[in-house]
Subunit: 360 residues, 2 copies
């Protein structure tokens, strides 16, 4: 499996051109490409430029509206509901996060539930928008149903990620961004490419038996909630994924559970649609609404260095702080570039040709 | 291992008398016993009356103040910080939750971080206070350090539970209450009593090796974050436990990470104390601040029945909704009584004698 190296700005620029070409207003093309390519930068390759063709296909089948009239349809001092008007989640989520931040400036916290949106890329990109204001940022979204609840063979939930971003002082920010499954779908895709087996606890087959075949989803299998099985707490992962679904879709009026629209444009929409589009939930908590931010950040530094200096198990290099691997990957890729495997490069070249755009 | 059966009201009454006897004002004794015995009722035996002697011992060593001046030390429209004045968490947490609820009535949501408190029993009791107001209730707390972060042998976090309680319409409420570890400490205690081994993924020994010995904590071992090991997502359980610590203790000014005060009164306080007592985080979100509560609850009913009717894996009885087992246990125990194992009964008898109270 060979790969080519691109600079961050090459990928950003290409994505921006693609979004503009399919009709996004300039500002939205900038917002969307920045959200999308942040995934490649942070090493979450499954959610970055590799999905660009997928977003375009959603536009082709008219599931994505490239010039949406995103608007607040209800609000209180600390809450809002946003209708994304079928826009790209990459654009709708930052819009909603900015509202959460403005609410937090006034009321201490801001909480925005979003209906009628599409996939928003990586949760961390949106949650981290709060950091510069000395706020804790929170982002979650529901997604295509791929996950079976404990004891079931039915795919009822998405990988429903949660991100919590917390500012620190001298230390880098704490950024926990996690799918509520044992492993995200992107990790299975990597195993498929490498022709390797998955560990037990990641997936089950169509009858609910434990499986190590990374292609199991294509055969009617399902991803497993964090925990893997009941004995190891999969009912907790299931409960967390359910909370994400409720906050993102039931509070907002989006589709939920097995009725969440699928990301692949070739998968038909579910016959039943109890809401509109998919849902997100964005939150911002101003540190100053609890205690002086400087004081808090000193304690965060102390917390972080405490964990960084915890004794490691023999043979393990170090204890990580949530967000360390992604931040280090970002530093590396900003200087050394971003490697893309050939299959992704080919798909991007085809996309460029289809849209009559030069490829990088 | 034999056991005796008590009625809910017998245990409630005894706990109330104990709290009154050690000096709690009447109202606090009622609040504390109701919070405590709700754990026995819901089948969380480790957190109920079995801990009553433990709370009394904390009072004996002057770590619990039985007549605290609990107060709000800072607030905004949607937030508050509460100083528990070393009170029982069983009293401080409901106080803070009531503030969160009042804030949510005014500002849509309310978020209260608590410092200078003690263990608060089960998170569900506090989170569920919001349900009667058609609000989503959230409760979390940090706790005695027993959990090693991924790759470490040091106990840096408590089992740090999260509860999210969501109102429904005709269906019972959704109540997810989970320790951010693979298994809560109470489950190890049950295995110890039954002289059984623990599954791999629950605990590690003092060197960080996987272990099945439920006594491992006494030998310097640690509980494992939800996921169990890196391959199965223990970094996610670690991150979630960390978020609970940050929201509960770093936002409020409580002790955090390995410096959280231990529950057992015989364990000395950590030499370093970066804050006051332990911390909680309570939240309330008014459904009406997002969409009409009736509409939301109809969709929650649809969500719940969708999961309840999901296809089961062959051999499994049914797909559970978070909160089902505890609610069913409560119904059962309200009619059939609450069984206590002899060791717990003996300890309660000794407690009664020490305090010169009749035992039930």
């Amino acid at each position: 499996m060979s790969e080519k190296i691109f600079t961050y700005h090459q990928l950003l620029d290409f994505a921006e051109k693609v979004f503009r070409k399919i009709g996004c207003p300039d500002k939205d093309a900038v917002t969307a490409s920045s959200a999308l390519i942040s995934a490649d930068l942070r090493g979450i390759d499954s959610h970055g430029v590799a999905r660009l063709s997928g977003y375009v296909r959603l536009w082709e089948v008219k599931r994505v509206n490239v010039s949406p009239g995103i608007k607040v349809i209800y609000e209180t001092a600390s809450t809002a509901v946003v209708d994304g008007d079928s826009g790209l989640g990459l654009v709708v989520a930052p819009y909603a996060m900015n509202i959460a931040i403005e609410k937090a400036k006034q009321a201490g916290t801001g909480w925005v539930s979003v209906q009628n949106s599409n996939h928003f890329g990586i949760a961390a990109h949106h949650a981290m928008m709060a950091l510069q204001y000395d706020m804790i940022g929170i982002a979650m979204t529901n997604a295509s149903p791929l996950v079976a609840p404990t004891f079931s063979i039915d795919r009822m939930l998405g990988t429903n990620p949660i991100c919590v971003a917390v500012p620190a002082g001298k230390e880098p920010s704490f950024v926990a961004d996690l799918a509520t499954t044992t492993a995200a779908n992107g990790k299975l895709e990597i195993l498929q490419r490498k022709k390797q087996r998955a560990p037990l606890g990641w997936i089950q087959d169509k009858n609910g038996n434990p499986s190590t075949d990374p292609h199991e989803l294509k055969n009617g299998g399902a991803l497993l909630p964090l925990g893997g099985d009941k004995e190891h707490g999969s009912h907790k992962g299931y409960a967390l994924g359910a909370v994400v679904d409720i906050f993102s879709a039931l509070l907002s009026g989006a589709n939920y559970a097995p009725w969440a629209p699928p990301f692949p444009a070739y998968v038909p929409m579910p016959a039943e649609q109890p809401g509109k589009g998919i849902g997100h939930f964005l939150g911002a908590m101003s540190i100053d609404a609890f205690r002086p931010a400087d004081e808090f950040k000193k304690h965060m530094d102390h917390w972080i260095s405490g964990f960084r200096n915890a004794k490691t198990i023999e043979g393990e290099e170090r204890v990580l702080i949530p967000g360390d691997p992604e931040r280090e990957m970002q530093e590396k890729r900003l200087t050394e570039g971003i490697p893309l495997v050939d299959s992704v490069v080919n798909e991007l070249e085809q996309l460029a040709e289809k849209l009559n755009l030069p490829f990088i």
